[in-house]
């Protein structure tokens, strides 16, 4: 059982925690016999922690307006996203102050590390992208609801339902398929008879999170309630109604999906 010789690259990878268990054990045994090397590698590891401690707070800083506007060259081909970009960037800043403190207080500063918060942000982007659409708000309309639900269920890979929200004043407009970070996402749109719209974003494959309480995030002027229920993550977005009213709808959605 002669292990391959320990190289400097192994030691670097060890400091980064990137060796598999077997190799890690070999490196540990090697270091155990070499206190000076062990101290050097441990110093590298600590420096990494200090670096992250020093710069991770940048992740949750408010974006300066100039930077939020840096998406403007999009104007021609991506006009819609220019607006969304500068706006979501600003929203992220607001969210950093407003929304985050409502979440459980983990020390992780990176929003990207939180699947739920990331989902809320994507849902907000989807909301501002599609809810103003006059001619093409959805891909499949409510007149083909059975087809819509079957299609989205098939593509998302989980049996979905479009909750009925007439009791809280909303009727289904229809839905569409969106690209998510982990595969297709279902997006349902509802509106009141006065045209106020809300959207429900449903994604799968939320590993490790069996269930969560409702959480609230604000992205720009979009309010989002999001939660995880078994393998599905839900985010309900609105730019037009109050947090309390949105919460009522979120409760209705939840009850519909968990009779």
């Amino acid at each position: 059982m002669s292990a391959a010789p320990i190289t400097e690259a192994d030691l670097q990878a060890y400091a980064d925690g990137r060796l598999d268990a077997e190799r890690r054990g070999e490196v540990e045994a090697w270091l155990a016999a070499r206190p000076d090397e062990a101290e050097r590698i441990d110093a590298y590891r600590r420096l990494g922690e200090e670096l992250r401690g020093l710069y991770d707070p940048v992740l949750s800083e408010a974006l300066p307006p100039a930077l939020a506007g840096a998406a403007l060259p999009l104007r021609r081909r991506w006009s819609r996203f220019a607006a969304v970009a500068s706006w979501v960037a600003l929203g992220a800043a607001v969210g950093a102050i407003g929304g985050w403190e409502l979440r459980d207080s983990r020390t992780v500063a990176a929003p990207a590390a939180d699947v739920g918060a990331l989902m809320a942000r994507r849902a907000a982007v989807a909301h501002v992208t599609y809810s103003p659409e006059v001619r093409h708000p959805v891909e499949v309309g409510a007149d083909q609801e059975a087809h819509l639900v079957a299609w989205l269920s098939k593509r998302v890979g989980a049996p979905l339902r479009a909750p009925k929200l007439e009791a809280v004043g909303y009727s289904l407009v229809g839905g569409r398929l969106l690209p998510g970070d982990n595969g297709p996402v279902a997006h349902f749109m509802y509106q009141t008879n006065r045209g106020t719209r809300i959207t429900l974003y449903v994604r799968t494959e939320i590993a490790g999170n069996r269930e969560t309480a409702f959480r609230y995030a604000r992205e720009g002027n979009v309010s989002v309630f999001y939660w995880v229920d078994r393998k599905l993550g839900y985010a309900l977005s609105s730019a037009d109604i109050s947090k309390d009213d949105l919460l009522k709808v979120a409760n209705a959605v939840y009850q519909q999906l968990n009779p």
Partner: protein, 166 residues
């Protein structure tokens, strides 16, 4: 469309990397802004399904290298960069400023590798792809960056101690 969303989501990470790369906040945000503008223009060149983050950091790397080159034609990248201006925005902790200062004193090419590995937590392969260098070079720069940083921090610790004793 999806790329645009993801690109927007990566902005805070670009800022974090840029801050560590160039030191002060204003220059870092200038770099991010230039990077974004370039990225938007070049987004059609991005190949769907490939690593968007690596692509974006490559754009930033190229923008940065060009900026440094045009700003200081006399000072090749391989040489030790002079200490960058520090604003002390991160607070008054002496150690924090020491670390910022020490990072600024790393050769730019080593600093980039160290930051992509430790801050972005990119795999060594991703770093190689992002910077367009062989993986062996990634490993040797990483090793040298860490050793130099450790020595700088030790040196400063020693200096600080001496001062206290005196």
């Amino acid at each position: 469309m999806n790329e645009a969303q993801r690109l927007i989501e990566l902005i805070p990470r670009l800022r974090r990397y840029a801050r560590a790369l160039v030191g002060d906040r204003a220059s870092a945000d200038d770099l991010v802004q230039d990077t974004l503008e370039r990225a938007w223009m070049k987004l059609h060149l991005y190949r769907r399904g490939t690593d968007l983050r690596a692509w974006l950091f490559t754009v930033m790397h190229n923008v940065h290298v060009n900026k440094v080159r045009s700003a200081r034609a006399t000072d090749p990248l391989e040489d030790e960069m002079p200490e960058l201006a520090q604003r002390g925005a991160q607070g008054d902790a002496l150690m924090v400023r020491d670390l910022e200062r020490s990072i600024a004193r790393l050769p730019a090419e080593q600093r980039a590798v160290l930051l992509l590995v430790t801050l972005e937590e990119m795999s060594y392969e991703q770093v190689a792809r992002t910077l367009g260098i062989p993986i062996g070079t990634v490993m040797s720069r990483l090793s040298r960056a860490r050793e130099k940083l450790r020595a700088l921090m030790l040196g400063q610790g020693a200096a600080a101690k001496l001062k206290v004793v005196k």
